[in-house]
């Protein structure tokens, strides 16, 4: 009895340590974002904010320094870059949602064919699409830059959209082919017998059943495009196309950064994907179950 209690207590302790490891870093950022630099740059830093303030957020969003900032030394121009986080987030959203839409449309159609139809070159093209993803991103950085430059797309949303679609599509096709492969065929066959075309079957019968799989594929695609950094770094130059990761990294890796301001910008950037992940939680885990669990 006592032994069981001890084990339970030990397990709770393990869980709490795990929770601290997982959530601690995020909570600390949240904590930093409601303090001012003068409280953060102390030894030891203030973990419990003395006067929690939304001034960092106010500054990042309105771009006019609140009163509390008057006597705080700012990290100069580099911290100033945190102020362009809103336009950068807008770019990130435009790019990530366009990529998601294209990848889903193109990927679902191709995946359905791979899962259901037999044709010459089927295995070969499938293998080609999948292996293309094994080429590390850094390995084709120069040629991709040249392609985008020749297309006249440098520093535009379209540049990032095209590149991300090419990089994410193989995963989407693989994932959806798996997913479609698990579907019962009887319903489709009934639809085909009733005179539906293949495409019509896909649209009217299959898509509604596979909506969870599509949602998971969409979540993966969105996250992938939203997070990408390397290509965003060298395909964009101005705030017309710079995405949130690029702007934040430019701000945060400098030594004299205003950490309060950077934390506020960072929180604004990670909130959307976190909400996304929590809302799509069921689909994502179920999607993983299909992809990896069986």
């Amino acid at each position: 009895m006592i032994r069981q209690r001890l084990i339970d207590a030990g397990m709770t302790a393990v869980g709490l340590v795990l929770a601290l490891f997982i959530l601690g870093p995020i909570l600390w950022m949240l904590d930093s974002s409601v303090q001012l630099d003068r409280d953060l740059f102390t030894v030891p830093p203030r973990v419990i904010p003395q006067q929690p303030t939304l001034d960092n957020y106010r500054y990042v969003i309105t771009r006019t320094p609140p009163k509390s900032y008057e006597r705080v030394t700012m990290g100069g121009r580099v911290s100033g870059e945190a102020l362009s986080i809103l336009p950068a987030l807008r770019n990130s959203f435009i790019v990530a949602s366009s990529v998601t839409a294209v990848v889903l449309a193109v990927g679902a159609v191709a995946a359905y064919t791979y899962a259901r139809l037999q044709f010459a070159g089927r295995d070969l093209t499938y293998a080609f699409i999948l292996t293309s993803r094994l080429i590390p991103a850094i390995s084709v950085a120069i040629p991709v830059f040249v392609i985008i430059d020749r297309l006249g797309l440098l520093d535009s949303h379209l540049a990032l959209i095209v590149v991300y679609v090419a990089f994410i599509l193989p995963f989407t096709i693989w994932f959806l082919t798996q997913y479609f492969g698990y579907l019962p065929r009887d319903i489709e066959e009934a639809a085909l017998l009733d005179g539906c075309t293949r495409f019509g079957t896909l649209r009217r019968v299959v898509v509604p059943i596979v909506a969870p799989g599509l949602a998971a594929a969409a979540a993966f695609a969105f996250m992938g495009a939203y997070s990408e950094f390397l290509y965003a770094l060298f395909l964009t130059r101005t705030i017309a196309a710079k995405t949130a990761p690029v702007v934040l990294v430019a701000t945060a890796i400098n030594f004299d950064v205003s950490f309060a301001l950077a934390s506020a910008a960072l929180i604004l950037t990670i909130v959307p994907p976190i909400i996304f992940a929590l809302v799509f939680r069921k689909f994502i885990t179920r999607g993983m179950l299909v992809g990896f669990g069986r």
């Binding site: 997982i22 973990v47 120069i142 990294v249 976190i274």
Partner: protein, 314 residues
């Protein structure tokens, strides 16, 4: 039975048999439906690779823009023979081995915890999605701030717990700096491994454990003979993902350490980046990129083979 089983296990990697063999119009539909996907992928796979071959076999230094003699494998040889390549290669191997081991261990142990009943485990099953959802460069920024030598919260915590006597310069120490990268990497990618393992664990039939328990098997025996065989395919996939992922790690290095101190965290992809974007030597950069691609492709093929053998013999 064994065949069916192997096909099922290979599921994630190979294409099942399609039933329909279309003729005429349907055949056209098949090609038409994969055409857009093929075009996208080809534009960013075939052409870049061909272009890289050209770069790697010629002299392309941007500071000398009009002089591109053919040099054969000289770039590759020079990169392979250089001290920095060997250093970066060794660092990358150590880093990759550490993250593979840590992420797999994290995945297996944490998934067991998540699979427990109770509110805390239920809460953690949701919370564990957060690091996965956060972009990797953001994770890097967060951990850089935590490990900050002067104002970092980790130093403050460790000192107040009496674990270290004074503040440690995490990024200034050639042994600790790679460790910070590994920790940040595990924080970011361990959760995905745990979620995948959890999905597998939940597919293990309960009664297997019950009968093991009745037969007087220990917890370890149950893990060894019931859990592990079920987890094996998932672990192999994770092994591939993590090896390749560790090998091409770039974002965390860029954000957290910039390759330093000295070249302590200068991984191969960072080295390639520096060669291209700092020293503007496209030829050497492309040669290096090829070496990285060859290694990751080779590793993936070895693993896929392993997976197939695994599927055939289990």
């Amino acid at each position: 039975m064994a065949r069916a089983n192997s096909r099922q296990r290979l599921g994630p990697l190979i294409l099942g048999r399609a039933t329909a063999r279309p003729r005429g119009r349907l055949q056209w539909y098949a090609y038409l439906s994969i055409l857009p996907a093929l075009c996208f992928v080809a534009l960013f796979a075939v052409y870049p690779v061909a272009f890289s071959v050209r770069l790697a076999t010629h002299r392309y230094v941007l500071t000398d823009p009009h002089n591109h003699p053919f040099e054969g494998l000289r770039n590759v040889a020079e990169v392979l023979g250089s001290y920095y390549f060997r250093r970066a290669g060794l660092t990358t191997l150590t880093f990759t081995a550490s993250v593979v081991a840590s992420v797999l261990a994290f995945g297996v142990t944490v998934s067991h915890y998540l699979n427990r009943p109770g509110r805390l485990a239920g809460f953690l099953r949701v919370a564990i999605l957060l690091p996965w959802a956060i972009p990797v460069v953001m994770a890097g920024i967060i951990w850089k701030w935590i490990f900050n030598g002067n104002y970092g919260v980790l130093n403050a915590l460790l000192v107040s717990l009496g674990l270290i006597p004074s503040y440690v310069s995490w990024f200034g120490n050639p042994i600790l700096a790679p460790l910070t990268l590994v920790i940040a990497h595990v924080w970011k990618w361990g959760p995905l491994a745990a979620i995948m393992c959890l999905a597998t664990l939940q597919a293990v039939p309960r009664d297997l454990y019950e009968s093991a328990h009745i037969d007087g098997g220990s917890g370890w025996a149950a893990f060894r003979y019931i859990t592990l065989p079920f987890l094996r395919p998932t672990l192999l996939i994770l092994l591939i993902l993590e090896t390749v992922g560790g090998f091409v790690t770039f974002d965390l290095v860029y954000v957290m350490t910039g390759g330093g101190p000295g070249d302590a965290t200068s991984l191969l992809s960072w080295f390639a980046y520096a060669e291209i974007f700092r020293f503007l030597d496209l030829g050497k950069g492309a040669a290096l990129a090829f070496i990285i691609a060859a290694v990751t492709l080779g590793l993936s093929l070895v693993y896929v083979r392993l997976l197939r053998l695994e599927a055939l013999y289990s």
